[in-house]
């Protein structure tokens, strides 16, 4: 009886680990709580903000409360709503790191995004981390009308057109191109996973299948030995 229970529990754990090996979909995925136990759950600093996105025909718009970001637009055909998590960190070289994460369906469908900053000088530049390389994005100055208030006024914004949502380094143009050393790429912490960033589970898929197969064989062996013991 105890052996049967042990076999059942082992099988159950193996299946759960197999399920955990799938990418998390959206914020608070099933596997994130398990990953939090094994990854650097305490390596978590910086401001974090949930930004609701809404729009039509695939063009989504969000207005963070962040002190520098006026607006974020995301063009993701097929998506009419969503959200992103904005996280700001200070890099070792005193530049600003911005990390955007969003649910997987949104991240996969993004064709373009534009980040609008307010109150910055035009000497600023943005580097986008794409495929392991920092790509420079030069700003466009856009002057827009300010709504509300008695008097019509205008506000200059700096617009950065980027390929998608991810990791960005905001710095003065005369500063060197960021590197892993100067910037200190943030590791995947549990809280960023909980914020919707897709991540693999505790074990690779293949190893989970091996564990499942091994547990099944163990249960069969226990069953066979018990049968033989009865005889």
């Amino acid at each position: 009886m105890m052996a049967q229970r042990f076999a059942a529990i082992t099988l159950f754990m193996a299946v759960n680990l197999l399920v955990s090996a799938q990418p998390t979909s959206g914020s608070g995925g099933f596997g994130t709580s398990i990953v939090a136990l094994s990854t650097e759950a305490c390596d978590d600093t910086g401001v974090r903000e949930w930004v609701e996105l809404a729009g039509t025909s695939g063009l989504l718009c969000g207005r963070p409360k962040h002190k520098s970001i006026q607006l974020i637009t995301v063009y993701a055909p097929g998506c009419d709503k969503g959200h992103l998590i904005l996280r700001e960190l200070e890099a070792p070289d005193a530049s600003t790191l911005l990390l955007f994460s969003a649910p997987a369906p949104l991240m996969k469908n993004i064709l373009r995004a534009t980040i609008y900053l307010k109150g910055y000088h035009e000497n600023l530049t943005l580097f986008e981390h794409v495929g392991g390389i920092w790509r420079r994005r030069t700003p466009q100055q856009v002057c827009v009308a300010v709504t509300g208030g008695r008097k019509a006024s205008q506000e200059p914004l700096l617009a950065f057109s980027v390929e998608g949502l991810g990791l960005f380094s905001l710095r003065d143009q005369d500063k060197a191109v960021p590197t892993a050393t100067t910037v200190g790429l943030p590791t995947t912490s549990a809280s960023s996973l909980l914020s919707g960033s897709p991540s693999r589970g505790l074990l690779p898929l293949g190893f989970s299948i091996v564990l499942l197969a091994g547990s099944w064989m163990l249960s069969r062996w226990i069953h066979w030995t018990e049968q033989n013991a009865d005889k």
Partner: protein
């Protein structure tokens, strides 16, 4: 077991137990059953993780459009109106390259029949008829007769506060909507939709936003930077207003300045198409009269995707490759 007549026989209790056991599934079957349930659960969970199919929802992705002036159009000349055959030839050339949508600029003379001719030639996408002078009776009457062939109207072009006032234009737009049942808009430089004295008026009176976006004229000579310039404005306008935005004119001249060449023109459109915004290619043919008659800067004569003699530039070879059925 008992011994009866020299043979081993089961007692009544043993027989009962054996019968009962035959009705109970063996542990082996039960174990395999659990395993099957687990495997089905795994397959079910994996199957739920599907991605919604993505469809590019801009109509201009399926029916690319071009801003059209006939080649033989020369304003301020005695014979400024092209012949019908010339218009047909121009439109056939464009249709053959893969264009299916059109925006025009005027409804005077033969230009007032372009939408109908375009439909005959095979333009089955969106046709937006332009009326250059909203206060011209000749253009007005022609525009109304073309209602069956057009999807919408663009009254005026970069003339607000210069050739017509806000009140005059608003009145004409309202009347044209009522008479034709078609959506009506106008067209101004894109920055006028973001700020300035006409900003609110444009957003209120336009059925859709139809701005012109010319980064080269805004001192953005690099093709990639030029595209960023367009996208930054387009995204802000579309996202903050929630309105449908289609860029009526955007392009890159192929000559007339050191940085202008066919290669950069191609790079501009290649990069712009990747961004997924809705726009009309500016413009169909080079218009030398802008430089020669109107005395505008040299670049103004070279926005075309085709040269004035009808020969294609590099961008047309790329375009045709992309869009031809």
């Amino acid at each position: 077991m008992i011994i009866k007549a020299g043979r081993f026989e089961k007692t009544q209790t043993e027989k009962t137990i054996c019968n009962d056991m035959q009705r109970i599934p063996s542990p082996r079957i039960k174990g395999n059953g659990y395993l099957l349930v687990y495997l089905l659960l795994i397959i079910l969970i994996m199957g739920i993780q599907n991605v919604k199919a993505v469809e590019f929802d801009s109509p201009f992705c399926k029916s690319p459009g071009v801003a059209f002036h006939p080649r033989a159009f020369v304003p301020q000349s005695d014979d400024c109106s092209p012949k019908r055959e010339q218009v047909v030839e121009d439109l056939r050339l464009l249709r053959k390259s893969g264009f299916r949508s059109l925006v025009t600029y005027s409804a005077s003379n033969i230009l007032g029949s372009v939408p109908e001719i375009a439909r005959e030639v095979g333009f089955d996408g969106s046709i937006i008829m332009g009326v250059w002078d909203p206060l011209s009776k000749q253009e007005w009457d022609k525009a109304i007769t073309q209602a069956p062939f057009v999807n919408g109207y663009c009254l005026g072009n970069e003339g607000l506060g210069v050739r017509y006032s806000q009140i005059e234009l608003a009145s004409k737009m309202k009347e044209l909507r009522r008479l034709t049942g078609r959506p009506v808009t106008t067209s101004e430089p894109i920055d006028s939709y973001l700020k300035g004295i006409h900003h609110d008026w444009l957003l209120i009176n336009s059925d859709w936003l139809f701005p012109n976006a010319h980064p080269f004229l805004a001192d953005q000579p690099d093709p990639d930077r030029a595209v960023d310039w367009v996208v930054a404005r387009y995204d802000y306008l579309a996202a903050t207003t929630g309105r449908r935005v289609v860029i009526k004119e955007t392009g890159f001249p192929s000559s007339g300045s050191e940085i202008c060449n066919e290669e950069n023109q191609l790079l501009f459109f290649e990069a712009l198409v990747k961004k997924g915004i809705a726009f009309f290619y500016f413009e169909a043919f080079d218009q030398p009269w802008k430089r020669d008659v109107l005395k505008q800067p040299a670049v103004e004569a070279h926005w075309g995707l085709y040269r004035a003699d009808g020969t294609p530039k590099k961008v047309i070879l790329w375009f045709a490759d992309r869009w031809l059925e």
